[in-house]
């Protein structure tokens, strides 16, 4: 496994309901990222279709591995890249059960996926109306390290990131579609999740305006000690190349040994109290 890898944070504006155009953008930027030496390129939440979909999501959802995933698998094979992107996933066992999913593919093809666990349904969000939540934590051993995945609002629930880390992830990727009024929360939480788990955290947000929602961008790579290693522009498309050196984790783990100091019995308490909230 490589000790140092290069990431490309592909902060794009997705064309709504236009998979063809979005796939083309994913392809173009993956090639561009490859040319700049990247091993992994990351696209935002629902980057295949756009975020504000409402009822159109039923027409746009695809199974994994369906035609869009297969096309990106081909791209990954052709370029030797790892690619993470977001899409509405149609479940295989029913006709209209949809998940908000992050997909990881690599030079050998499909690697894994994560189905968003916490679906915001408040304020301007209505995800529970359309999506079923996921139940599986995602951390995958790959040629470029153990990569964990989660999506946007999941970041507000530290247990998701913690479990991802406990499953072995050293680079945790959060893909997002966060509107501007929530920027400050994500700027705080991305640093916090990285630091409390002593892992790298890559956050890739959407940009553009969809039905009045302005996505703020600001994609970033945070170090295991919570430092901002790289930050993309606010509000505009960007392709940010940055570097993860996994050797940086060990000194942080000894300096802030949060994983060593975990107290399992507290999680039983957490479970008990959250059940009776």
């Amino acid at each position: 496994m490589k000790e140092i890898i290069k990431l490309a944070l592909a902060q794009i504006s997705s064309k709504r309901e236009n998979k063809k155009e979005n796939l083309q953008k994913i392809e173009d930027l993956t090639i561009k990222a490859k040319e700049q030496g990247a091993d992994l390129v990351i696209f935002p939440e629902l980057s295949l279709t756009g975020y504000v979909l409402h009822d159109q999501v039923y027409e746009l959802a695809e199974v994994i591995q369906g035609p869009s995933t297969k096309r990106i698998e081909e791209l990954a094979k052709k370029t030797g890249m790892h690619v993470i992107f977001g899409m509405p996933e149609l479940g295989e066992k029913t006709k209209a059960t949809i998940f908000n999913t992050a997909v990881l593919v690599g030079p050998t093809g499909f690697i894994g996926k994560f189905r968003k666990m916490y679906l915001p349904t408040h304020s301007v969000f209505e995800e529970k109306r359309y999506f079923r939540p996921g139940y599986q934590i995602a951390a995958f051993n790959t040629a470029i390290g153990n990569i964990g995945l989660f999506i946007c609002y999941d970041i507000f629930f530290p247990e998701i990131c913690r479990l991802t880390r406990l499953k072995g992830a050293e680079l945790i990727v959060c893909i997002s579609a966060s509107p501007a009024v929530r920027r400050s929360y994500f700027e705080i939480l991305t640093a916090a999740r990285a630091l409390e788990n002593t892992a790298f955290l890559a956050y890739v947000n959407l940009v553009g305006v969809q039905d009045g929602l302005q996505f703020w961008g600001g994609s970033r790579l945070v170090s295991p000690i919570g430092n901002l290693l790289a930050k993309a522009r606010y509000d505009e498309e960007d392709l940010l190349i940055c570097e993860v050196d996994y050797r940086d984790i060990r000194p942080v783990e000894t300096f802030i040994p949060t994983l060593r100091d975990l107290r399992p019995e507290l999680f039983d308490e957490l479970k008990k109290h959250s059940e009776t909230l």
């Binding site: 064309k15 709504r16 309901e17 236009n18 504000v52 979909l53 409402h54 009822d55 159109q56 209505e126 109306r129 501007a180 553009g208 305006v209 969809q210 039905d211 009045g212 302005q214 509000d235």
Partner: protein
């Protein structure tokens, strides 16, 4: 429910450069995505339309913004016309004047039940006629209609249904009147214009605050509290106003939701317009 909210004027403070940027980006993207050649807006000489004119011009360039001045003889006010011209000149937008008096008079004559004394019904005709002019320009010149309703007026239903509120986009509808005043000065609207009393100009000497029976400084804080689910008692106590005043504002806010939505239809079929036909506004 939100006892921690302290209703002081500071809660309405904004990061003005950030708000200007957000609204500018919103207008620009919308125009681009719609494939339009710019925006058309009604330029009354008041603060809301002046602010939207300024924001539009700063965002997409004044050459792509048309400000229509739509005076009529009953409410004609040379100060408003001059203020509108001043805004147009300062922000480099194209201003045109269309005197709507002959159209209004023609309209009044053809309505068998027209009642000259009913100033509200008559005033609403003026607002709706202005809307027709704006949409004619938009259709003809491939522009979008940019509205200038603010949040205080919208929450209170203080507008003419299908009239002044009719637009393709409303860039300042999420800002209270007192916030618009600050944004106005921030973007370069002269203080004198920004501080001018607000009027819908539906009849002579009509003033928004007089009609609403409350100063915008107080109204905005009441609405801010209601927006955050505060109880009327708590709002009244904090603002040191009578509870009945807060209750009246709340009651008016809730009773005019119909003015802010598509017409209601009975639910009869699988998916219904305005109820559960949930589609993106655009495909971009």
């Amino acid at each position: 429910m939100c006892a921690q909210v302290k209703l002081t004027p500071s809660v309405l403070e904004l990061n003005l450069p950030e708000i200007e940027k957000r609204i500018g980006c919103f207008i620009k993207k919308y125009v681009e995505n719609a494939g339009a050649d710019g925006v058309v807006l009604g330029l009354s000489g008041g603060i809301d339309s002046g602010t939207v004119a300024a924001l539009s011009s700063l965002s997409i360039g004044g050459a792509r913004v048309i400000g229509l001045m739509l005076p009529e003889k009953e409410t004609y006010n040379s100060k408003d016309v001059n203020d509108a011209k001043l805004v147009a000149e300062k922000f480099g937008l194209k201003a045109q004047v269309c005197d709507i008096t002959p159209v209004l008079e023609g309209f009044y004559k053809t309505i068998p039940i027209f009642d000259q004394a009913d100033k509200l019904c008559k005033g609403n005709i003026k607002a709706r006629i202005r809307m027709i002019y704006l949409y004619y320009y938009a259709n003809k010149l491939n522009k979008i209609v940019c509205g200038s309703s603010d949040k205080s007026e919208t929450m209170m239903g203080y507008f003419t249904k299908w009239g002044d509120v009719a637009a393709d986009i409303s860039p300042i509808m999420d800002l209270y009147k007192t916030q618009v005043r600050k944004l106005a000065e921030h973007v370069g609207i002269p203080h004198e214009l920004a501080a001018k009393p607000s009027t819908p100009a539906l009849w002579p000497n009509q003033l928004a605050e007089t009609e609403l029976g409350i100063k915008f400084e107080t109204l905005d804080l009441i609405l801010y509290g209601l927006e955050r689910f505060m109880a009327t008692e708590e709002i009244a106590q904090q603002l040191k106003v009578q509870k009945i005043l807060v209750e009246k504002v709340k009651s008016r806010w809730l009773s005019v939701e119909h003015k802010r939505r598509l017409p209601l239809t009975p639910k009869l079929e699988y998916r219904t317009v305005g109820i559960d036909f949930r589609l993106p506004r655009h495909t971009y």
